[in-house]
Symmetry: C2
Subunit: 371 residues, 2 copies
């Protein structure tokens, strides 16, 4: 088991020696520019601070921290890219501030058991948790972060929403005058066994997203990351072809100077990142009408053998047999009734707030409008 | 050696079982639409013909041939995608015309030693010859093509031209306010050991292209493909940074109905294909002035061990020590003189043709213009 684990780690770290991977990350503008903004917009926070960069790669985030005024940055990197990080740090004249440590963070020892003011890390993989690097960030937090220290980012959320996947369904019936439907069917079948990394357009979502989890990097333990599950019913926001579940994430940076929160968002309506979106394809598409209920359960569990991987399991549920949220946007009679009652109640309350004593009149007139 | 060869073949063919590769090819519009046009614009040729499709993949080219009126198409495919080709052919109702044969073409036996009227194949790899599939097409020609039969495409040319590679050089000195020059230097160094597949823009070429070879699919033997070499001097068409040699290819389809020749062109000024362009990076960039001579030798040799691979070797030459073409666009004195004399001679001849007896007057006035 130990041997397996070290082989796994050695494969994982050697993949980061491929500079093309780092180029892809550096050139991902949403990623790099958002981290830069989250750091450089908070100069008053970073000034004089001691920071640790977990998995520093080329060292660019450490350099942002030094530019923001950090007095010391420990840039930890387990792969051989650490040597290049040292060169880059030196070329930027920050070798007096940034100390690149070529080591797994778990093996790092800081002088005099020093603690750091802040941890920064870009640890996110496909569908957030693929690669399992967050484990190391949480371990670094427990080992090195001062009480009340900051983590950049400090929280992360995985969202899911039902979607169409036109690139795998449309056009194939007549592609250059040839019916390639059977090709597309086999292509989908190949892709249905594991999550597919691809771009989904906002207009291909069939309903509002729901959060699968909310990861609090300040408090969560490593084993809190082992398993997530959500069961949900929603009404389709338009008629369409339900072909998959779209998965994406966002990461929230700390709000320090009373500024607006900076968020790295990989949703279909945000600027495309190298993470794109992840799609779990349905075995077969389902036509849905507007407001038709869509019910599913999604389980995300850490793989038993390879702890850097997760298994995603989508279960399609019968909307008749599961509990609906309140209110629910679907067209089932009980949901329409519940929604109407709740809306009436809300409007009633709003009317009371707006109109003071004349609430009865207001309520009547709103009822008239509704009919 | 045989074992190696069969392992190599087995890896090669199994890579074509990945449907994503076929999707990439099908969705390459320049590729698929050009083949389609080369076939469907020649219905009067294809009507009633017997065709062989070498390496048919999904079978789309065979279907184009059937649509164009071929009476029989033998669609040969060594990988397991042959089973899918059968499905696709049936779904398009051409199973009475197209016979998918799951075999290497070298092992195929047609009934009664039948010969075919035409061979069609999409065999091109990166920088044309990578993958070495053309060998099988030439073998199929020798085994199955009638005397005077047609080959689609019938010829192919590899072009090379000196170029800048801005994506590997520019912007890295100040990327998000960080000097990443050393990253870019290592990135280039990683890429200099083998040809890099990437897009080069037309405006990044530094001079006119020269042909490395001209492959005649009607006549060339398999061992004609073993080795190509070109030595060349050209004058830079602008000042700039000479950073690599750009390699691309074009394939020419037969001209049958007196129509314009259809060409599949993968040059930097053509629509981008999945082959993109290939770049051989120089170890170090060289600044060149407009008309400065650039001299090089390019050798392309089949690999001794893996016959599906080629080694590309670029040698930079001293323009002072090599013979220049006549005329040459470079600024060296002898080339300017030779060019002026040749132009004068050409103009003299044109003047004679245009002006009949008054050539002396014409020549004088042209000389005046030149001074």
């Amino acid at each position: 088991m130990d041997t397996d684990m070290s082989t796994e780690n050695s494969n994982y770290f050697s993949s980061y020696e491929d500079l093309e991977v780092h180029r892809l990350m550096l050139e991902d503008d949403a990623r790099t520019a958002t981290y830069r903004k989250a750091i450089l917009d908070n100069k008053s926070y970073f000034r004089g601070k001691i920071v640790m960069d977990v998995g520093c790669g080329t060292g660019i985030l450490s350099i942002f921290c030094a530019q923001a005024g950090a007095k010391k940055v420990y840039a930890i990197e387990a792969s051989n890219i650490a040597n290049l990080a040292k060169e880059i740090v030196k070329a930027n004249n920050f070798d007096n501030i940034i100390e690149v440590i070529h080591s797994k963070v778990e093996d790092v020892k800081l002088p005099d058991n020093l603690k750091v003011d802040a941890i920064i890390s870009e640890w996110m993989g496909f569908y957030l948790l693929h690669e399992g690097m967050l484990d190391s960030v949480l371990t670094a937090r427990d080992m090195f972060l001062k009480e009340g220290g900051e983590i950049f980012p400090e929280s992360a959320i995985i969202y899911v929403a039902p979607c169409s996947v036109p690139s795998l369904y449309d056009k194939w019936e007549n592609s250059y005058g040839v019916n390639l439907s059977s090709f597309a069917r086999h292509l989908r079948s190949d892709k249905s066994s594991k999550p597919e990394i691809m771009q989904i357009n906002h207009e291909d979502l069939l309903g509002p997203e729901i959060a699968l989890n909310w990861i609090n990097l300040r408090d969560d333990a490593v084993n809190d990351l082992d398993s997530y599950s959500v069961q949900h019913v929603l009404g389709a926001n338009r008629s369409g072809r339900y072909q998959g579940l779209c998965v994406w994430f966002e990461c929230n940076f700390p709000v320090l100077d009373g500024e607006e929160r900076i968020i790295l968002n990989t949703s279909p309506s945000s600027k495309l990142t190298h993470w794109k979106q992840t799609v779990i394809l349905l075995p077969e598409e389902q036509k849905v009408e507007k407001q038709e209920p869509i019910a599913f359960k999604l389980d995300m569990n850490r793989d038993g053998v390879s702890s850097r991987r997760y298994n995603l399991e989508l279960t399609l549920l019968d909307p008749e047999e599961v509990e609906h949220p309140m209110p629910c946007s679907c067209h089932m009679t009980k949901c329409i009734l519940v929604k109407a009652v709740m809306e009436q109640h809300t409007e009633h309350t709003i009317s009371q707030l707006q109109a003071g004593d004349s609430d009865v009149l207001q309520e009547d007139s709103i009822d008239d409008d509704d009919n």
